[in-house]
């Protein structure tokens, strides 16, 4: 089987197997699953065993013991504390590498525990293959022990779900799962395999393909699309008429492995870039052209640039509500909007655009670049670029540097000084996630692992574990909050069990900080359900009990620099709880359902708007 990789999309090149004469040897369905995993280049499996998946667990064990490489398992099985952890580990692995993460779980609760990571991966377009056991075919529908309707449950949240009903289709189905997960707009695919099919004997046929002709046809049509000269001309007409173009870059650039061509394009024409939360790393955050993140908690200068720009070039971004809560008021001075995406349904979904291209991003950028060379197109946006540099200086991120309490931003700045944009950072969801997005530097794509669209608390720790397996030589830091880390705290033991040098930074503000921030701003400071001051958990003791040799608590501002250094330089797993100012807020903030001109920058970031009152919010806009 031959694969050709086209910007992160796997296109199948059918190869004809000639050796059809040999007598076929039957193997167990479970061994067949493992054989396809090996064929697909799977290097690691994340999963938790149980009754309905036992045959396949046994097949993984046998495969590993029979195929040792230098005394090591070729396909190690990483066991979490909870299947949700396995899902997020696989997602962390996939986000850090671009390759599908593989999850192997049992039926019923094993499978339903992965629903959240599957939906999370769908929402952020992350390739996953989840293989779950199912009760035997003749028990399906009888409310059997550990039975759950996985096709129905997963059907609404995954890119696709297969229930294998015939042994003969097992091999082709597992193969198709990888094809679907990684191709086009990536996403999670679930394969539900009844136990009797795992136990059945099947004839391997490495040429077997599932008939998903309609999907393949649409995919190859999209992948084959080329920008023609007329389209290029129109694009450059918009650019030529523009004085203030802005690249609005999303996760599609990272999924499409197009960061390099995007950087080249931006540099060639000197166009500044604001990224979404998912687009962080598409351009080095320290680049002159980078305005860092835009949106609800974007930098003030990125959001001002959105207000000022006259041509928006959306690339692999989808105008979601955290960026464009009011689509009509997004980039109000833009005379034109251009949109690149691989998913036709994103074009015109939220905002009508003047120019669009559906296709492979690398190809489109190369074509535009060629066209401009052939036609000697030159543009000068230097005064706009100067304006954006002034915005960056004047409205730089800042916080209460004089406070006696430890400010979370200070902690992140200190870590950033040591990691210099090279670390892989995962997060939970909430204030700490936004501070990390704002204050860390990232030189490359796939270094920033965060639950963007779903906003799943508990994502950070398991994602960091998955990423550390993917990138054993890289520094992997989980920046977490006390609310978020609780959700998958059980995975602390997984870090030490596999001797991973993951760094866990817990910013503890004794509550659900972002919820408290909204309650402070919009609900009269009534902290309903969000205060955790009565919780007696000793996080350091938790880490120690799971074998962390470095587990410390940081409470004094004067110790920050020294402690951070020890923490980051510790060669093994390290856990640092920082007791931060519980009242620290995330600014800037564009309130829910508001336009960028209503952005509030707080006390420490300079605003160009004199009215810094918190505007009344339509309760219906508050999500």
């Amino acid at each position: 089987m031959v694969y050709s990789i086209v910007v992160g999309c796997v296109t199948l090149k059918e190869t004809v197997k000639t050796d059809k004469m040999a007598t076929p040897t039957k193997i167990e369905g479970s061994a067949m699953i493992v054989r396809v995993l090996a064929e697909q280049g799977v290097k690691i499996i994340f999963g938790y065993s149980g009754g309905a998946i036992l045959p396949t667990y046994d097949a993984v064990f046998r495969y590993n013991s029979e195929n040792q490489i230098n005394g090591k398992d070729p396909m190690p099985l990483i066991v979490p504390a909870n299947e949700q952890g396995a899902g997020f580990m696989a997602a962390g692995y996939a986000r850090a590498t671009g390759k599908p993460g593989v999850v192997l779980v049992t039926s019923g609760p094993g499978a339903t525990n992965t629903v959240t990571p599957v939906r999370d991966a769908m929402a952020d377009s992350i390739p996953l293959v989840v293989i779950c056991g199912q009760v035997a075919r003749d028990s399906i529908g009888t409310d059997a022990f550990q039975e759950a309707p996985i096709t129905s449950v997963m059907g609404s949240v995954a890119k696709h779900v297969f229930l294998v009903t015939e042994s003969e289709k097992l091999e082709a189905t597992v193969r198709a799962a990888f094809e679907i997960a990684a191709s086009g707009r990536p996403g999670p695919v679930v394969v539900d395999v009844p136990k009797d099919i795992q136990n059945s004997m099947v004839i391997p046929d490495q040429d077997s393909r599932l008939n998903i002709a309609a999907y393949r046809g649409r995919l190859s049509q999209i992948q084959g699309r080329e920008l023609n000269d007329a389209e290029c001309k129109k694009f450059f007409n918009y650019l030529g008429q523009s004085e203030r173009p802005l690249l609005y870059v999303g996760g599609g650039v990272i999924a499409g492995e197009a960061s390099e061509s995007l950087r080249g394009f931006a540099e060639k024409f000197q166009i500044p870039i604001a990224t979404t939360l998912m687009g962080i790393g598409a351009i080095g955050t320290q680049s002159v052209l980078s305005l860092k993140m835009l949106g609800m908690h974007g930098t003030a200068y990125a959001n001002y640039a959105v207000e000022d720009c006259d041509f928006v070039i959306a690339v692999g971004a989808r105008f979601d509500d955290r960026v464009a809560a009011l689509p009509k008021k997004f980039a109000p001075k833009a005379k034109a909007v251009a949109h690149f995406d691989i998913d036709p349904s994103e074009i015109g979904k939220v905002k009508n655009v003047d120019w669009f291209h559906i296709g492979i991003l690398n190809k489109a950028i190369a074509k535009l670049s060629d066209y401009s060379d052939q036609n000697n197109l030159a543009f000068n946006f230097s005064s706009w670029l100067d304006e954006t540099q002034e915005l960056k200086i004047k409205h730089a991120l800042s916080y209460d540097r004089e406070s006696n309490l430890i400010q979370p931003q200070m902690v992140l700045e200190e870590i950033n000084k040591l990691t210099k944009g090279k670390a892989i950072v995962s997060t939970g969801v909430g204030q700490h996630q936004m501070w990390a997005a704002q204050y860390f530097d990232f030189n490359q794509p796939r270094q920033w692992l965060t639950s963007g669209s779903m906003g799943t608390m508990g994502f950070g720790l398991p994602a960091a574990i998955g990423a550390q397996f993917a990138k054993p030589e890289s520094m992997v830091i989980d920046v977490d909050g006390d609310g978020s880390i609780r959700m998958n705290l059980g995975e602390l033991e997984t870090v030490t069990a596999y001797d991973l040098p993951v760094k866990i930074l817990l910013l503890n503000n004794a509550g659900d900080g972002m919820v408290k921030q909204w309650q402070k701003l919009y609900y009269g400071a009534r902290f309903s359900g969000s205060d955790k001051t009565l919780r007696q958990k000793d996080f350091v003791m938790c880490a120690k009990s799971d074998g962390f040799q470095y587990a410390e608590q940081l409470t004094e501002k004067k110790d920050v620099v020294k402690t951070i250094k020890q923490f980051i330089e510790f060669p093994k797993a390290a856990f640092l709880e920082v007791v931060i100012d519980p009242d620290a807020m995330v600014y800037p903030m564009v309130g829910p359902g508001m336009a960028y001109d209503q952005m509030v920058t707080g006390e420490f970031i300079s605003s160009r708007d004199t009215d810094q009152e918190i505007d009344e919010i339509d309760p219906n806009a508050m999500f």
Partner: protein, 164 residues
């Protein structure tokens, strides 16, 4: 505007529920839905009636195309087409109204397909709007006990097979 959309769907486990689930998860309405096999045993044809502005219908088509099992999506409404819906109405009829109603049914090319113990089942096959008018007239004339409608089926006239 009302749209009649035909969807060719590969016969796979859960395929129908994934189509239905796409409508509910994205907040689109299904007014009626009928499913039956086609000349290709691997493919079923769904005929679905939904309501929405052009932009909504476009999104529905695009979202349907993201489902792996969907082979083709056709907005029959955009084409010169024929539409038929089968409707059965069970009524109880007083003798004094009988002649007038039966004359009306006959005029509308409806039929009586069952009559048991004073319960009559009427059958009519026409387009969706005409069926609605027919039903209203029957409801006005007598007590309607039950209604079963197939939902509209539609085919484009002539050669046209336009996919969205």
């Amino acid at each position: 505007m009302r749209h009649t959309i035909a969807i060719l769907l590969q016969n796979e486990t859960g395929a129908l529920s994934r189509v239905a689930s796409m409508f509910s998860t994205r907040g689109y309405n299904i007014e009626s839905l009928s499913v039956a096999p086609t000349q290709d045993p691997m493919v079923s044809r769904l005929t679905l009636v939904t309501e929405g502005e052009d932009a909504v219908i476009e999104q529905i088509a695009k979202q349907l195309y993201k489902l792996i099992d969907v082979v083709e999506v056709l907005d029959i409404t955009l084409l010169d087409h024929v539409e038929r819906e089968l409707m059965m109405i069970k009524i109880r009829l007083e003798d004094r109204k009988r002649d007038a109603l039966l004359a009306f049914v006959d005029e509308q090319e409806g039929k009586i397909i069952s009559e048991v113990d004073g319960f009559i089942i009427l059958e009519i096959m026409s387009d969706y709007d005409s069926n609605n008018d027919f039903l209203k007239a029957v409801e006005k004339a007598t007590e309607v006990i039950a209604i079963a409608r197939s939902g509209p089926l539609a085919l484009a006239k002539g050669q046209a097979v336009i996919s969205l």
